[in-house]
Symmetry: C2
Subunit: 325 residues, 2 copies
């Protein structure tokens, strides 16, 4: 019998769904648009239909499958209440009792579990990835935003209210750049993919760098992939973006080390594809900011989750973690 979990990753644009086995292999996957209509009951109908279709597809291939549950990664996902609360990039407003609504559709599932997307990624790393043998680690996800998940003593830190692990919204530069959350100077405004774009333009402006490859793209066109490509061609501005982003991120990681003293911090997301271009300055800056008692002890590692499937895999891992309790 193949014991599988269904992973659901709710993004601002799409909802990815996959059936994942206990080894973290995605057997089948698909996606539906995350609606803009704001009607959560309608969305639950659409999502349940997509999950049922996927279960049917699996059935046509094999009967030898046991479904353990559904794991959901969602922005502002609350583990304790199974709710999505005031997610700024979703059309559903207020507090949505998402797990309860989905459970009604799938009463046969042993576990329906929800948390925020970065926590799901951390649990994915713990169940299937590079943190398999670690009890204390942190996951930073770099994408449109900067998310994080903190694991202490083998357990996800949810905190008193279920929202722990928002390191992307710790202070990096007081009164600095406007952050997506409305505050100023947060890590996310500097170390996310859009943050890197902003840094590129900051350097273009400072140096009037008309000779940079990045000088030919509009503010809305430029993305972190283009900065990476330019850096590989030796573009001075692009190289400095990675250097500076690494410095900032390393400072943020040091603050996190000073909180929970992890064995390793994993970095996940698009910008990490740049490898040492990013990791080298991150490590150097983190070390420079650490107290002597922490120096040369904390690893900074790339996530071992497969980029395209990581969100689904992480969400499915929630189920395994829950049933292991």
């Amino acid at each position: 019998m193949n014991r599988v979990a269904i992973g659901v990753d709710i993004g601002g644009t799409n909802t990815a769904i996959g059936v994942v086995d206990t080894e973290g292999q995605v057997l089948i996957k698909g996606s539906i648009p995350t609606p803009k209509h704001g009607d959560v009951n309608l969305y639950i109908e659409e999502l349940a239909k997509a999950i049922e279709d996927m279960i049917e597809s699996v059935k046509r291939l094999t009967d030898n499958v046991e479904y353990l549950g559904i794991g959901i990664g969602a922005p502002n996902g609350n583990y304790y209440r199974g709710s999505i609360e005031y997610a700024p990039n979703l059309s559903f407003k207020g507090i949505i009792p998402f797990v309860d609504l989905l459970k009604e559709k799938f009463p046969q599932m042993k576990a329906v579990v929800l948390t925020n997307d970065a926590n799901a990624a951390a649990i994915g790393e713990m169940i299937y990835g590079g943190a398999k043998n670690m009890k204390d680690f942190v996951m930073y996800t770099l994408g449109t935003g900067v998310g994080s998940g903190i694991v202490v003593n083998g357990e996800m830190v949810y905190g008193h209210d279920g929202f722990a692990g928002e390191c992307g919204h710790t202070m990096l530069i007081p009164n600095g750049r406007l952050c997506g959350c409305g505050s100023k100077g947060h890590v996310e405004a500097y170390c996310s993919a859009p943050g890197m774009k902003r840094t590129a333009f900051e350097i273009l402006v400072r140096d009037n760098a008309t000779d940079s490859l990045l000088a030919n793209k509009s503010f809305n066109e430029l993305d972190s992939k283009m900065i990476f490509d330019a850096a590989q061609q030796g573009d001075r501005v692009a190289l400095e973006v990675f250097e500076q982003t690494g410095k900032w991120l390393g400072q943020a990681l040091a603050d996190t080390v000073h909180h929970t003293s992890p064995e390793a911090i994993f970095l996940f997301g698009g910008p990490t594809a740049a490898g040492e271009l990013l990791f080298k300055p991150v490590r150097e800056s983190m070390e420079a900011h650490l107290l002597p008692i922490f120096k040369n002890k904390v690893k900074v590692l790339p996530s071992r989750l497969k980029p395209g499937d990581a969100a689904i895999i992480g969400a499915s891992a929630l189920v395994h973690k829950e049933l292991a309790k």
Copy 2:
């Protein structure tokens, strides 16, 4: 039978020792100088002698006492290894296997446990104080430095290496004031008692405030108690010191909330005697820096540990926490 633990608090100048019952009452206490001679074996002899003398004193009062163990709070104390490691303000250099050395003197004790002083205070708050019914809270200790202890899910966070909870050395203002640890801009350089003194002089300089009561003290004379006294007399500079310290500390607390989402943060130490003069700006600033999902949820409370005895009480609580495992 009165079940007691011995609490030892190792400070840069003095080592306080006390016998504490299960209610957190100090039955008897004393202190010896923390030596400058750098010979840890000699210090262990002196400490063991002081503890034995104290046990003898108790015996003269009553036979009805069971000693559960010895708890030690020490700078750079490592819980896992029972060691004091590279403590900058002690004369013992390198890594000192303190628990092993003390156990040799007291083989009859069920538990000899050591952690850093702020962690000990947090455990004291959990066992005897205001955090008795809390599973997720943080303790900030404000004194010569700024220490912290983080509790998640009812357990002290020690982290992978046993040194977790150094929030005083997270970044407050990049490239800011020199911190005691040698880095720049840390919370400790602003929110400790000496940090408040530095802030007072910063304001004196900025405003050329010759009319302030604080203008008559030298840099080495002025302390946080004098600033409090001046604030109570309405001194404008002193009032601004509390306002500004609160703003800074509130920013630091928000970063901590964004890590572990505690139910409450307790403040402990000399400067907290100022009450609302400090707590009000701290709360306002923390709330202003929190993500919407955390707003109006996290309490900022004064420690309920008795100021003079808190370090001994906290150290003794280590024993109760250890034996409850």
